[in-house]
Symmetry: C2
């Protein structure tokens, strides 16, 4: 079985995909939507420190990639819900693993940053 796409090739579409995933806030947003739909403000509150501008951009990008769905319930005050699509949920699997890795290995990295490399 040969691969149809190779992330290392400059012209491969998978490169674009990976860059999107690697965008600064993508992983946070996807993980934030892991437990179900959330409203804009809820996401913003949940992901501490994200600015509305960047959150909007990230959500729009994820939406156009088909990872996130935006449901506007209209009315007032505005009511918009964001949720992961099927595709988004499938991405959640590897991203949750990355998040877990990050939370698990914080001490190792803090350690490495403050000491001489040994390994």
């Amino acid at each position: 079985m040969s691969k149809a796409y190779d992330v290392m090739a400059a012209t491969c579409p998978s490169r674009t995909v990976l860059h999107r995933i690697g965008a600064r806030w993508t992983i946070f947003v996807v993980v934030a939507l892991a437990d179900g739909p959330r409203r804009f403000t809820a996401i913003k509150t949940h992901i501490e420190g994200i600015t509305p501008k960047v959150l909007t951009e990230t959500l729009r990008a994820l939406e156009s990639d088909g990872l996130v769905r935006r449901d506007d319930f209209g009315g007032n005050p505005p009511h918009v819900e964001y949720s992961l699509t099927q595709l988004g949920r499938s991405l959640l699997v590897p991203l949750a693993a990355v998040r877990e890795w990050a939370e698990t290995h914080v001490p190792d990295i803090l350690d490495a940053q403050s000491s001489r490399p040994a390994d």
Copy 2:
């Protein structure tokens, strides 16, 4: 077992860690080193389109985080090898999954980008 670190907390060190992982080229470099040590130029060639400046920065960052080791064999022409540390190899596991996801789901995303979102 409760979590010691929470990526969603603005002040949590895991946030920094995750941002590093999410840095534009980190995943490419880590994956590029998956099969063993490589020299600077080899990495640069392998990851098409990365510039030397960015590669240097990424490698230095990964090195200071203890994910990559830099071995300088001196001599001339220069001979420097980069390899994953134990910690780096452990990160490879989730990152390889992300890479795989990217390569697998390219069609879905291209599709979503060109059509109206339907979920």
